[in-house]
């Protein structure tokens, strides 16, 4: 095990403004970016604001932009980023900054309330339970792997560049809607909300969200496109759909 030093260029500041500050710290085999940030916090910058919980890629708290790439700090190994130049660590850019690496992601939680809740059909068995085949739950389970890191929301241009926070719910919540719509037991309907108030039409299938998802959920292919297809089936004339107008 060789101990070497690396330089981290970390964004420090709040809504009033801020700057990148360089810190040098010792790094060792197996370390992740979050380890280095915490070491800097403990040794050199006690008040550095950073959000993390599990340090195991399970809670989705530590999303940030590392060398410009949206990633989880706790799952980004230092061996995967060049350490011969400063490693840039910045907060997610799409959400309002609180301080340093911490952003205000509360919008995501508020928006979730606009997605109609799970409403099961009547139980299948007299004891109040249901029957579902594994093969029918596989797809929903993929979506339910989501750790709500909001990295997908962070990269989606509709939110990041166009800031359409009132009109669009973003890939995370589209995935959430898909999980409910495709839940074998659910009996509610969400398509009209998706179309009229949640802005699914803004998504133009760039797949940037899918690329950054740490849970490797196929957000665009498995969640958004099927939802769009269901919408087309429901709202557009089948002939127009055949000619591709609905897409």
């Amino acid at each position: 095990m060789t101990a070497t030093t690396a330089t981290f260029s970390i964004w420090r500041g709040d809504r009033q403004g801020g700057k990148l500050v360089e810190y040098q710290t010792e790094i060792a085999e197996g370390m992740v970016v979050l380890d280095a940030v915490r070491r800097i916090q403990a040794d050199q910058a006690n008040d550095l604001a950073v959000r993390w919980n599990c340090k195991a890629g399970k809670c989705g708290s530590c999303a940030a932009e590392i060398n410009g790439k949206p990633r989880l700090m706790c799952m980004t190994r230092l061996s995967d980023v060049p350490t011969n130049r400063p490693i840039l660590v910045e907060p997610m850019r799409t959400f309002p900054l609180i301080r340093d690496l911490v952003t205000d992601v509360s919008w995501n939680f508020e928006k979730k309330r606009t997605v109609r809740k799970f409403t099961p059909r009547k139980p299948d068995a007299p004891d109040g339970t249901w029957r579902m085949a594994q093969i029918d739950v596989d797809r929903v389970q993929e979506f339910r792997k989501c750790i709500e890191c909001f990295l997908c929301q962070n990269v989606c241009h509709v939110l990041r560049d166009h800031q359409l926070f009132d009109e669009y719910i973003g890939p995370r919540l589209l995935t959430h809607s898909a999980a409910l719509e495709m839940h074998p037991l659910d009996s509610d309907h969400r398509l009209s909300d998706l179309r009229f108030t949640q802005g699914i039409g803004y998504c133009n299938i760039t797949k940037c969200c899918t690329k950054v998802c740490p849970e490797e959920i196929k957000i665009t292919d498995n969640a958004i496109i099927p939802l769009k297809e269901r919408l087309v089936d429901r709202y557009f004339d089948p002939v127009a759909w055949l000619f591709g107008a609905g897409r």
Partner: protein, 606 residues
């Protein structure tokens, strides 16, 4: 005078893990106005990390299972110092609590006939853990979260409670600060529920998230509530050991449930060499039988890898100490070997243990479908905690309830895997119910201005040091405490080391009066750490005191100077509280006599 805002609720729930959320849903359903406060964002609590499953005697996979077997297993695992009433209620109510999750949208793995699938886990006689791959905690917390946001519940995310407020003996609220701006809030409530989880962060090597600093237990203790069995800290046998920066991260017991085996550096399945008498009859005596058990053969007995955690952890420590460990000071956990037994083993492993596959690939460059993992014990769970009434979950202070990991009793000296998630559901529900009932008959009481002012003054003190450039770094004190607890009050304990630890804690306490925090109150990690340190010190002292007093070895508490179980301690819980002078008082509280009916179940299942 200190500045703060006041918020009022019928029921205040501190903590948004499984226990807190389940409690909140229950209290709201009973008409209470509910506030939930949590240190982190919604859905991020430590519960999200749970992997293997939630234990409930649904009997979906093996219809011989029922609450009586679950009860007996839980008592045996806890070495009979459990609160038997809690063990009984837990075993009886867990199935309903799990089915209810399904009605709220949870999607568990399925049996071939479409019901909730259950898997094997250590100490459970039959396959009993409902699960979703190895991310059961995520499924649970998300289900509860997505259900709760539609109820009459207000969420206060990234708020930290720093003290409980009392009117006489009754708890009537709590004081906290909001992380973003560092502003103070007084929560006035008719009933308060602690659901703050465990204290793994008292140790250096732990599977727990940063939040697990024992806050709720420490706050309850500072307010005068009784704690129980604080010596029982569970060390999970399989945490990652390499590379060092990930040491402690959990490797789920599910790996062993799916057929994974433990070998020492010499390639020997060492657990076959040491099977405790209490479990002899239920344990396989050859590798073939053990394998058949993991594959659902009902006539086979379980492999020794699925013995209780305390035992497996100690055996690993022994192998390592006696020089038979793996290169980085652990032992080998091998799931890849099952390819000798089943076709498509690699795919099977990846579907059954997806997070483990990812975790090792990403963090250790190791493909678990091809190579064995290196594992060793990690601080995992606190069986002790706030002493509560088994039915209502009320603590020794009126108006204060506790549920989940921060409450003591259910697990006795050792918790079985999967029994925590079910604990959260069963006793979260109960705490919510009884808190709502209590609130119905109670009114809001005034809070003491002077107590609030004093608390605020205390937590702000380190800023003065920071401004004057003096005092000590809270990170440093925290790290020293963690090192010391790891070394002196870990898996293998002995009196003089623990006395040294107590002494060390005293010294750290003095140093902690002079901490330094720089900067301002906005999202200041240094400040948060300073507050955590205070709680961790209280918790560490409680662990030490309980551990010194229990002069025997039982469950997770192992003492080289008293390596056997003792008759005397078999009948008691250790109960701690802080006296008027702030010093801990300890007593041995006799365990209430078990009703004949429950005794009989235990006899039958021996």
């Amino acid at each position: 005078m200190a500045q703060y805002e006041t918020i009022r609720h019928d029921v205040l729930i501190i903590g948004a893990g499984g226990a807190g959320l389940r409690g909140a849903v229950e209290a709201a359903a009973r008409g209470a106005s509910v506030g939930v406060v949590s240190k982190s964002l919604l859905g991020k609590a430590h519960t999200v990390m749970a992997e293997g499953g939630v234990a409930a005697a649904l009997g979906n996979v093996d219809d011989r299972d029922n609450w009586r077997v679950h009860f007996a297993d839980t008592m045996r695992g806890g070495q009979y110092v459990n609160n038997w009433r809690m063990a009984e209620l837990h075993a009886k109510e867990a199935p309903d609590r799990v089915r209810e999750l399904e009605a709220w949208g949870a999607v568990f793995d399925r049996t071939p006939d479409g019901r909730i699938l259950q898997r094997n886990f250590g100490g459970h006689r039959y396959p009993r853990l409902a699960h979703v791959g190895d991310r059961t905690g995520l499924e649970m917390i998300r289900t509860l979260q997505d259900h709760a946001i539609f109820e009459r519940i207000s969420f206060y995310m990234e708020f930290t409670i720093i003290s409980l407020l009392k009117d006489g003996n009754r708890v009537v609220g709590a004081l906290g600060y909001q992380r973003e701006k560092g502003l103070f809030f007084v929560f006035q409530a008719k009933a308060v529920v602690l659901a703050t989880g465990g204290l793994g962060r008292a140790y250096k090597i732990t599977s727990n998230s940063w939040e697990c600093t024992g806050d709720g237990i420490a706050l309850a203790c500072d307010a005068g509530a009784e704690l129980q069995d604080m010596e029982f800290v569970q060390f999970h046998p399989t945490g990652m050991v390499w590379p060092p920066s990930v040491a402690g991260i959990l490797v789920t017991e599910g790996v062993r449930g799916e057929g994974g085996v433990l070998r020492n550096g010499l390639g020997r399945r060492f657990l076959f060499d040491d099977i405790p008498p209490l479990y002899k009859d239920q344990t396989a005596d050859n590798e073939e039988e053990g394998w058949r058990y993991t594959q659902g053969d009902k006539s086979a007995r379980r492999p020794p890898e699925l013995l209780t955690r305390d035992h497996v952890a100690r055996c690993i420590v022994r192998e390592v100490r006696e020089g038979r460990g793996s290169p980085h000071g652990g032992v080998f956990l091998d799931i890849a070997w099952i390819k000798q037994k089943i076709p498509n083993a690699e795919k099977h492993i990846r579907t059954k243990l997806p997070s483990m596959y990812d975790q090792f690939l990403k963090l250790a460059d190791l493909d678990i479908t091809k190579e064995p993992m290196e594992v060793g014990p990690t601080t995992h769970y606190l069986m002790g905690g706030v002493r509560v009434d088994g039915d209502s979950q009320m603590s020794s202070l009126p108006g204060l309830f506790a549920a989940g990991e921060c409450a003591a009793g259910l697990h006795g000296a050792n918790r079985l895997g999967g029994n925590s998630l079910s604990d959260l559901l069963v006793f979260g529900q109960r705490a919510g119910e009884y808190a709502a009932r209590f609130a119905k008959d109670a009114s809001l009481a005034p809070v003491s201005e002077s107590a609030v002012g004093e608390s605020i003054r205390q937590v702000l003190a380190p800023f003065e040091n920071g401004a004057k450039g003096r005092g000590e770094s809270p990170y440093r004190v925290q790290a020293e405490l963690q090192d010391m607890m790891q070394e002196l009050v870990g898996i293998v304990r002995v009196e003089d080391e623990m006395v040294r630890a107590l002494d060390g804690i005293q010294k750290l306490k003095e140093r902690s009066r002079n901490l330094r925090v720089e900067g301002n109150r906005m999202y200041n990690a240094g400040w948060h750490t300073a507050i955590d340190v205070r709680n961790l010190l209280t918790m560490s002292e409680a662990i030490c005191r309980g551990a010194i007093e229990r002069r025997e070895s039982r469950g997770a508490h192992y003492r080289v100077d008293y390596p056997e179980k003792s008759e005397k301690f078999a009948k008691v819980n250790t109960v701690l509280h802080k006296g008027e002078d702030g010093a801990f008082k300890l007593r041995l509280e006799p365990i209430k006599e078990m009703p004949a009916e429950l005794k009989q179940i235990i006899e039958e299942m021996k």
